[in-house]
């Protein structure tokens, strides 16, 4: 049969591509030509390499082996990637993965539009068009994180379409999206394709009914291609009448896992109504918003009870109330006749709960996760192995048991979540969209297991799903919409009541009756002035190396995120002021109030006189005298006494006779610097006493020389004027560095880093854009702290304020850059925080001259101190604050800081990866 699609020039040419994740083989020597100008679907079981292939095509992942040519060029070449990036749109797997949850719909769209270089008017037009046609227009002001799953996906699509891509890559875009929103989503895509016929769309999906409507399909398994062709061709080849059946037929024998049609034996209600779960008037309010509104239901033991409804209608909230995670605002629920209370541990043991978001430990392997849960649910120790093995086999996880969940495809992770929920053989299973993203074969296998549990073991199952064929398998289903239950019946009854051809239609009708917007207000896109190929190329070329607009769009986004988290901003500004007060007042280098005691073993006038001499000093505070050595030992060990003066027996007599006499001083050497100072004080006091004795005895003291000591810059030798100018640079280091330290790694952890991988933004633009808001914030911080020093502490800027500001500015660029550097090479936020803390606090406090001048340090500490810009900022700050200096006096301290800035920024840029590897 001639394949008309193959004759078209391919939008992507893939030859001999192989991809490994560690030891796992994801794609195995795969070659494929993807035809252009049409809708191509990738179908296949979970973890066969669909997502990996899509991320290779999009340029998000680096190519390991083989050739990937997209839009006529090699994706290995950076130059080509830079050229085609603006022509490709990639929507990764997972709801709203590449969106910024704290930013509103409008702001997300603005961000992407700016990133692709549209002007303000053009942005407005495009955003209005796209949101009107997707029904998102009324929600422009809502934060993306608060949208329902379906709306998130629509927004993701809008963000992808904002730059008129030639190639649109969608990785399971409708997984976890309700049927209504799903229908709207595909309508939208079709409309857009109608207007832009030159656009190629590549989609991976788990829904066979979706795949049915695509132009051309690729069936994959185990990193290889099983079949390609139009849906009709594939049906014809396998002699099947549905794609679902064709898919199963195409799989190799062992993959089918003895797949057979699901048969559901009826639920035998042997007269007695054994109630498992009962809810009456269950209501949940979050502030003004009523998420669940007086919901009632009764579920019999062993029943499979389905919950259907659009995204955000209150299904998950209801489930959380049943598990005891949330306490209902109103109403009650019972489980086997016992009231559900959050504090009741025993009811929890009877429940297996699987939440919508993947919530297992990504630091534990598959096996470890299962074992941990088995143990926490107190499966008898001798049964743990058996149970875990049973689960591994049942859910096809045996092969991946030693892999970390993060390295597994979505579908496999879903299965693990399920396995974990069942490992303790609960009486009730509460499953929130358990099969989202799971392939059809695995889904059927899973249902077989559920049915067996329900019918044989009388396990009650409470499940939500977006798959209609799954809903049909439930004994009863409840339709929910905006917090209310619309209907609660057996699926067949619902279809009958509505006279609908299928459950899906019945469902949609119910929703429309309840006021849901069926046609999504689709006004159609205003015919956009389609951007021609040349224009695209032009745009790409003009801004390949550096684009101010892209930088600004990242800067703007970062600033918005800061604005959305006012607590953080407050902590930064007020925190630094509080710290300045505490440290300015608190750290004192004057050694005063030293605790001492006398061990007077002479007990004469003279010994008393000596003791009085010490007592008169402002540096020492007398404690009760020491009686003996044992006491001396004990009191010094406890740290009570820093000095003990011992006057030996016969002291007065010896002095009288002119015999050599000796006063002993025991000094606590635990703090060497303090001990040094004590030594100095004592020597001084001792000499003073001797002079007095001589004068008293009428002996003229020998005339000698004086040494006049002038303490400069800080004549009273107060700690405050010395400390405040020193603390400011320390705080300007630690706080801005910590602010930026999370900015990149957080995107890595949350997934939005993908926008760096697949858009044309360069690493420099990305980092600098992120840095700017923080530098500004740090400068505000600097001005506040300086104002505080001047007005509150009365520590005046004696030198050039302009020179100080300039130094602070250079320094802040360095400190924020330092945080960015820590953020680029760490993988987790924890490591980034830790790293920043270690790399700022210790050098700043110990090596930069805060307490000991760098010039008198030794070894590694000195080296660090000498290359660390904080040292120079400290010199400048002290020089300008206390010594009335200006730029010309201090320029030699500016130079090292100015060298440090490009060094740190270039390192950060070099360490940041533009592609996933």
């Amino acid at each position: 049969m001639p394949d008309s699609f193959v004759q078209r020039p391919p939008v992507a040419h893939i030859a001999g591509v192989t991809l490994h994740y560690g030891k796992t083989l994801a794609i195995d020597d795969l070659s494929l030509d993807i035809p252009s100008d049409c809708m191509v679907g990738f179908i296949g079981p979970d973890g066969v390499g669909k997502s990996s292939l899509l991320s290779l095509i999009s340029g998000a992942h680096a190519i390991q082996e083989g050739t990937v040519e997209v839009l006529g060029g090699d994706m290995r070449e950076k130059r080509h990637r830079d050229n085609v990036c603006p022509l490709i749109a990639y929507m990764p797997q997972g709801l709203g993965k590449n969106l910024y949850p704290t930013l509103s719909v409008e702001e997300n769209l603005q961000f992407f539009a700016r990133l692709f270089g549209h002007g303000a008017a053009e942005r407005r037009r495009r955003i209005d068009d796209l949101t009107r046609s997707t029904g998102l227009y009324p929600f422009l002001g809502r934060p993306a994180g608060k949208l329902s799953g379906g709306m998130k996906q629509k927004l993701g699509l809008c963000c992808s379409l904002i730059h008129d891509p030639k190639l649109l890559i969608l990785d399971e875009p409708t997984t976890g999206v309700d049927p209504l929103a799903r229908a709207q989503f595909w309508n939208l895509i079709n409309r857009i394709r109608g207007q832009q016929p030159g656009m190629s769309v590549v989609v991976a999906t788990a829904y066979m009914d979706e795949a049915q409507k695509f132009d051309w399909l690729v069936v994959m398994d185990a990193g290889k291609i099983l079949a390609t062709g139009t849906p009709k061709e594939i049906l014809a080849r396998t002699n099947t009448d549905s794609l679902e059946a064709a898919f199963i037929a195409l799989l190799p024998e062992e993959k089918r896992q003895g797949h057979k049609e699901i048969v559901i034996p009826p639920l035998d209600s042997n007269g007695e109504e054994d109630v498992a779960i009962e809810a009456k008037g269950l209501t949940m309010r979050f502030g003004d918003f009523t998420a669940v509104d007086h919901v009632n239901f009764t579920i019999r033991r062993g029943e499979i009870f389905g919950f259907l409804g659009s995204n955000g209608c209150g299904k998950s909230t209801t489930m959380k109330m049943l598990t005891g995670l949330l306490e209902p605002s109103e109403g009650e629920a019972w489980m086997f006749g016992k009231k559900i209370e959050p504090s009741n541990i025993d009811t929890r043991k009877r429940i297996g709960y699987m939440s919508q978001a993947f919530s297992l430990y990504s630091e534990l392997t598959v096996l470890q996760n299962l074992v941990l849960h088995a143990r926490l649910f107190h499966v008898p120790p001798e049964q743990v192995d058996e149970r875990v093995n049973e689960m591994l086999e049942r859910f096809g996880l045996t092969k991946v048991q030693n892999i970390l969940p993060d390295n597994l495809p979505l579908g496999v992770r879903q299965r693990l979540s399920l396995a974990v929920a069942m490992v303790h053989h609960p009486d009730i299973l509460i499953l929130d969209e358990p099969t989202s993203g799971v392939d059809p074969v695995a889904r059927d296998g899973f249902w077989e297991y559920l049915i067996a549990l329900s019918r044989n073991d009388k396990v009650t199952i409470f499940i939500t799903t977006h798959f209609m064929n799954e809903a049909e398998r439930c004994d009863r289903i409840s339709l929910m919409h905006s917090g209310k239950v619309l209907a609660s019946e057996a699926p067949a009854t619902l279809v009958e009541e509505r006279n609908a051809p299928s459950l899906e239609d019945a469902f949609i009708q119910y929703l429309i009756d309840a006021g849901a917007d069926a046609e999504d207000g689709g006004e159609g896109l205003a015919p956009a002035a389609a951007v021609s190929q040349e224009e695209h190329a032009e745009r790409a070329k003009a801004s390949r190396f550096f684009s101010m607009q892209r930088l600004i769009s990242y800067m703007w986004r970062e600033a918005l995120e800061l604005k959305r988290d006012p607590i953080r901003g407050t902590l930064v500004l007020f925190g630094s002021l509080i710290l300045l007060i505490i440290m300015g007042y608190g750290i004192s280098l004057d050694v005063e109030n030293l605790r001492y005691a006398i061990l007077d073993r002479d007990q004469t006038m003279l010994s008393n006189n000596y003791a009085l001499n010490i007592k008169g000093s402002r540096y020492f505070i007398e404690h009760p005298p020491v009686e003996n050595y044992q006491e001396l030992d004990k009191r010094m060990k406890s740290g009570e006494l820093s000095v003990v003066l011992e006057i030996p027996p016969g002291f007065a007599r010896d002095v009288e006779r002119g015999d050599p006499a000796q006063v002993g001083a025991w000094i606590d050497g635990a703090m060497p610097q303090r001990a040094e100072t004590i030594k100095g004080y004592l020597q001084m006091l001792h000499t003073g006493w001797l002079q007095d004795r001589l004068t008293e005895a009428g002996i003229e003291a020998p005339s000698m020389a004086n040494i006049e000591v002038r303490y400069r810059y800080n004549p009273d030798v107060l700690s405050l004027p010395a400390m405040v100018p020193a603390v400011i640079p320390i705080l300007l280091l630690m706080i801005p560095a910590m602010l930026t330290a999370l900015s990149v790694v957080r995107e890595k952890e949350m997934g939005s880093i993908i926008n760096l991988y697949v858009t044309s933004v360069t690493r420099t633009e990305f980092l600098l854009g992120k840095q700017v808001p923080y530098v500004l914030m740090a400068m505000v911080n600097f001005f506040l702290m300086t104002a505080m020093a001047v007005f509150l502490f009365d520590v005046h800027v004696k030198g050039s304020f302009l020179a100080l500001t300039l130094a602070a500015f250079i320094y802040c660029i360095f400190t924020t850059g330092f945080g960015l550097l820590a953020s680029t090479f760490t993988k987790s936020q924890i490591a980034a925080i830790f790293c920043t803390m270690v790399a700022t606090m210790i050098p700043a406090v110990q090596f930069s001259g805060l307490i000991n001048p760098t010039s008198s340090l030794t070894g590694g500490g000195r080296f660090i101190g000498e290359i660390y810009p904080a040292t120079y900022m400290l010199t400048i700050s002290r020089g300008i604050f206390s010594k009335a200096l200006g730029f010309t006096d201090l320029y030699s301290s500016y130079i090292p800081m100015m060298i440090a800035v490009p060094v740190i920024m270039c390192t950060a840029i070099a360490l940041l990866k533009k592609q996933e590897v």
Partner: protein, 374 residues
């Protein structure tokens, strides 16, 4: 009861796996307790070393040369400079001290006119300023008096002040620096590890999962406290034995096991603090800011960097409620001064009390907020 213990044990093991899977974090922990401790131990020299001293010799006499030659490295790095260089040198922080010997100094002294030498001290460098000025005076006066003794008879009283340093006879700075670094690191790691572990669970939604299981918030918290506490306890103990004792040759007077008991008590308080901070912060960036706000004063004012008794009374009083204050005292007492439980019991008691209060407060707060974290 047994069930609680089993849960706490299992959850704690899980926390440890979380650490193992983050090699960067492991590296940082190791780095902190080895390289960082070593550098801190060796950075600050014993007493004054290489203090930059500018000397203006306007006299150029036998006596002035004698004074100058007595000020020598490694204690002082001396530079003979002109009168004009003095101000500029001090302004730029090149010299901490400038000693000015006036013209006809020797002649004046011999004539009994009591001339003055001027010593300029950069008082913004406070730690060097005091001790250094003291040394310079002592040395200069010593030289002058021995010079004079050739001309006059000794009329001084024969009373000597003999000073004996206890616990650290040579005032070796490494003893102080390395041990204080360990003490600071213990606090820092305890707070970071527990706090971030909790925030991470919250951000990744795993807290919700835990709460749906038959485990209590108390178990979750204790598991984090024991596992992270254990990591810090073991690494700090190892650092003490291998880096401080082994590599830096610091003589530890007291009992290490007793100190580790103190560490355990301290960890009790600081890990609870980490948990508390994580319940206050809503996300990791907020936690990071809170961390600096709390950790910096906790360390700077605990007495580990500057002597506590010299701080303002208010600061001293407030810091009585901070575990670090007592921990630093305990550390100094046990490790340097060889104090036993009979001497240091007050600190142990204070730490235990603060630890208990912090722990209970955190626990109450944790229970109250954990359902909002899900």
């Amino acid at each position: 009861m047994k069930r609680h213990l089993v849960n706490i044990y299992r959850l704690g093991i899980k926390e440890l796996w979380g650490l193992v899977r983050d090699p960067m974090l492991l590296f940082l922990i190791a780095f902190t307790f080895t390289v960082s401790t070593y550098t801190s131990g060796t950075a600050v020299p014993d007493t004054i070393t290489h203090a930059p001293l500018g000397i203006i010799d306007e006299d150029n006499s036998q006596l002035s040369q004698r004074v100058i030659s007595a000020l020598y490295p490694p204690m002082f790095d001396t530079f003979e400079i002109g009168l004009d260089d003095a101000d500029k040198g001090m302004d730029n922080g090149i010299y901490t001290f400038v000693l000015d010997i006036p013209p006809s100094f020797q002649a004046d002294i011999l004539a009994g006119r009591e001339p003055s030498i001027q010593l300029n001290v950069d008082a913004t460098r406070m730690s060097q300023a005091f001790t250094g000025a003291g040394y310079i005076q002592e040395i200069a006066m010593g030289e002058i008096s021995s010079f004079m003794q050739r001309y006059r008879s000794n009329t001084q009283l024969p009373v000597d002040l003999e000073m004996r340093m206890r616990f650290n006879p040579n005032l070796t700075q490494a003893w102080f620096g390395s041990l204080m670094d360990i003490i600071n690191n213990i606090t820092m790691m305890a707070i970071i590890l527990t706090g971030t572990a909790l925030i991470r669970e919250r951000e990744h939604g795993t807290i919700e999962h835990l709460l749906a299981m038959p485990v209590t918030p108390g178990e979750i918290m204790i598991a984090k406290v024991w596992s992270m506490g254990l990591v810090v306890l073991v690494t700090s103990g190892a650092s003490l034995v291998f880096v401080v004792q082994g590599l830096l040759n610091v003589h530890i007077e007291g009992s290490i096991p007793l100190f580790l008991v103190g560490v355990a008590l301290h960890l009790f308080a600081t890990t609870a603090m980490g948990i508390f901070m994580a319940t206050v912060a809503r996300n990791m960036p907020q936690f990071a800011m809170l961390l600096i706000l709390i950790l910096l004063p906790l360390q700077m004012l605990s007495g580990a960097s500057t002597p506590r008794e010299s701080m303002p009374k208010l600061v001293q009083d407030v810091m009585q409620f901070a575990p670090t204050t007592h921990f630093v005292e305990l550390g100094q007492g046990v490790l340097y001064r060889g104090a036993g439980i009979d001497v240091a019991w007050k600190q142990f008691l204070a730490l235990a009390a603060i630890g208990a209060v912090f722990f209970i407060v955190s626990m109450v707060r944790f229970r109250k907020t954990i359902s909002q974290m899900a």
